[in-house]
């Protein structure tokens, strides 16, 4: 088994202690960057490594950093630790187990884009974790890795934690910035994008926790080392959060390109009660449903490009396994209840769309729906697509449309009770 790159606490006990992290090469990459590299050289290494954003969108990280507007100052870095997608629980394990590598990633990103202040935006439920990170940040300040004139240079950096208070939408980067500004977490109209107009209207880079945790080792070992793992389209490793009907749910750090079969059967111990996999949701509740009607589907490689050939997106790689005991009318009633609750209410499409979809999924699931309700549900979902202010509204329609189209028999059965 390969050594972990992100979940290193599984190989190195006590790596959440500063001395242990340091002994294992910690902070060398940050020190080297600040004392020996220009900011754009750091960005170039990340660009060349092929690292893509791990929050779900998969946007090239180095390119995002290079977009920062150097005519407008100050700059900010915001680490997205809002982890709220149903099925995703990787960032929490990183921050609990390997906090310094994450914080070093924040520090390197800040240096690369010229930010002297960075915020870690944690979902409000991570209350204990925020207090823990505050301790780790204080230890870094004490040891001279954060603060004024770092390593004898003129570069200074402060990192602060900020707790959200229970709102999925704050994982959307512009809603997160609004929330950090002390407002309701509602997305902004884009463009402009955060690298030109971000926190307090200043150029800002927002990166996911897992993305940033990759950065110290990429700097230490080089872009080619990172690119040697994974696939041409999706470089490096990914933490797959495996949940649903598997025997051993959990986080598994694997190279991109690993098959669904290996994840579910070799690592996840197979399906509960030895049932058959009926569907896979590779991107949490925001997924399109992958239909597993042929065993070969399980041999599909998990990387951004290949998953797309199955009519779905890999997203945050929160793999929820659905077995043949589950009916899709129940499932979409669950996902729609979630999106209706989490819709921020700013755009009409999402606010009204999720509301009406929830009435329809409820009715279909409780057995009082008709064929016409299923048609109407599909129609509402399709009408919403391409018309929402942010991705949340779009995401809400994914499971609905693909469940009705790919599992029509489940809906026929559900409405036959009426």
């Amino acid at each position: 088994m390969m050594e972990h790159i992100l979940l290193r606490h599984r190989d190195i006990p006590d790596i959440n202690r500063l001395d242990v992290y340091k002994k294992n090469g910690g902070f060398a990459a940050f020190k080297n960057a600040v004392t020996k590299m220009k900011p754009n050289e750091v960005t170039d290494v990340v660009k060349n490594s092929g690292l893509r954003g791990r929050g779900g969108a998969g946007f090239p990280t180095g390119m995002k950093w290079a977009f920062i507007d150097n005519k407008n100052w100050p700059h900010y870095v915001v680490a997205n630790a809002d982890e709220s997608e149903p099925g995703t629980f990787k960032d929490r394990e990183i921050m609990e187990g390997n906090p310094f590598q994450f914080l070093e990633g924040v520090a390197i990103a800040s240096y690369a884009v010229g930010a002297n202040a960075a915020y870690v935006y944690l979902r409000g439920e991570f209350w204990q974790l925020a207090a823990f990170l505050d301790e780790k940040i204080a230890e870094m300040e004490e040891a001279g890795y954060l603060g004024k004139d770092l390593f004898g240079t003129e570069y200074s950096l402060k990192i602060h934690t900020h707790l959200g208070a229970g709102a999925y939408i704050c994982g959307e980067e512009t809603a997160m910035l609004e929330s950090l500004e002390g407002k309701r977490g509602q997305p902004r109209v884009r463009p402009p994008f955060p690298p030109s107009y971000g926190l307090y209207g200043k150029p800002t880079v927002v990166n996911n926790v897992e993305t940033l945790t990759n950065v110290p080792l990429i700097l230490a070992n080089g872009a080619d080392w990172y690119k040697s793992m994974g696939t041409a389209d999706s470089a490096g490793v990914k933490i797959f959060s495996l949940s649903g009907r598997v025997r051993k749910p959990g986080n598994y750090e694997l190279p991109f390109g690993t098959s669904f079969r290996e994840l579910i059967y070799t690592h996840g111990g197979g399906v509960q009660d030895s049932r058959k996999v009926k569907a896979i949701m590779p991107a949490g509740a925001s997924s399109s449903m992958i239909l597993v009607d042929d065993e070969k589907v399980l041999d599909t490689q998990m990387d951004y490009a290949t998953v797309r050939t199955l009519g779905a997106d890999l997203g945050s790689a929160s793999v929820i396994v659905i077995d043949d005991s589950v009916s899709m009318d129940w499932l979409i009633n669950k996902t729609i209840r979630f999106f209706k609750h989490e819709s921020c209410g700013k755009c009409t499409t999402c606010r009204e769309g999720t509301y009406w979809m929830s009435h329809l999924t409820e009715r279909i699931h409780d057995g009082t729906g008709t064929n016409a309700d299923v048609d109407l549900l599909l129609n509402v979902a399709k009408q919403m697509q391409g018309k929402c202010l942010c991705a949340l509204g779009e995401f809400s329609t994914m499971a609905v449309v693909t469940s009705i189209e790919r599992f029509p028999q489940d809906f026929k059965k559900a409405v036959s009770k009426a």
């Binding site: 982890e83 709220s84 997608e85 149903p86 099925g87 995703t88 629980f89 960032d91 929490r92 979902r123 409000g124 439920e125 991570f126 209350w127 204990q128 602060h160 900020h162 707790l163 959200g164 208070a165 229970g166 709102a167 999925y168 929330s179 950090l180 500004e181 002390g182 407002k183 309701r184 977490g185 307090y200 959060s241 495996l242 949940s243 649903g244 009907r245 749910p249 959990g250 986080n251 509740a285 929160s318 929820i320 659905i322 589950v326 499932l331 669950k334 996902t335 979630f338 609750h341 989490e342 921020c344």
Partner: protein, 168 residues
């Protein structure tokens, strides 16, 4: 007593995190501070916060209303927030919730007669591999409880009842 008088050190620490010209950013941590008292945020606290940050009371109230972890009325001493979202539901969270209701003699959204527990169904808490699970929100913090059974939950409740301790 005003929030600033009661917690001068904490208010100062919170404000120091943000640029002075953008002190409105402090509204969320200040609301948590206010909630420490009684597990909910009363009108006076909202007025205090509005004054500290130079924003209107309505703006403060809109934040309380938008985010689910702020409360504007008194409920049970502890809010037991069980995740019944899709991944947890696939691992028995709904059955768990139903049994809890039976054991506590209340429905979801209700509070036990002794005022100790308010039972709530909540959205994903990022612990999908450790279902059934819930968090307990008390006046002074949030605590996760994972891989739970009904028996262990009832034990936890009786400990909370006996000790009357605050959740950290």
């Amino acid at each position: 007593m005003s929030l600033e008088k009661k917690y001068p050190k904490e208010v100062k620490q919170i404000l120091a995190k943000y640029p002075p010209e953008h002190k409105r950013s402090a509204v969320m941590p200040l609301l948590y501070l206010a909630q420490r008292e009684e597990g909910y945020i009363n009108k006076t606290a909202m007025q205090d916060i509005a004054q500290i940050l130079d924003i209107t009371e309505t703006e403060v109230a809109s934040i309380v209303g938008f985010y689910t972890l702020y409360h504007d009325k008194k409920e049970g001493k502890y809010r037991m927030q069980v995740c019944t979202d899709l991944p947890c539901a696939l691992r028995g969270a709904e059955e768990f919730m139903n049994s809890l209701c039976g054991n506590l003699g209340i429905k979801v959204g209700e509070t036990t007669e002794d005022g100790l527990i308010t039972l709530e169904g909540v959205m994903c808490l990022a612990a999908c591999d450790k279902a059934p699970m819930f968090q307990i929100q008390g006046a002074d913090g949030i605590e996760y409880h994972e891989n739970m059974t009904v028996d262990r939950t009832m034990e936890l409740i009786s400990v909370l009842k006996r000790s009357g301790r605050e959740v950290k």
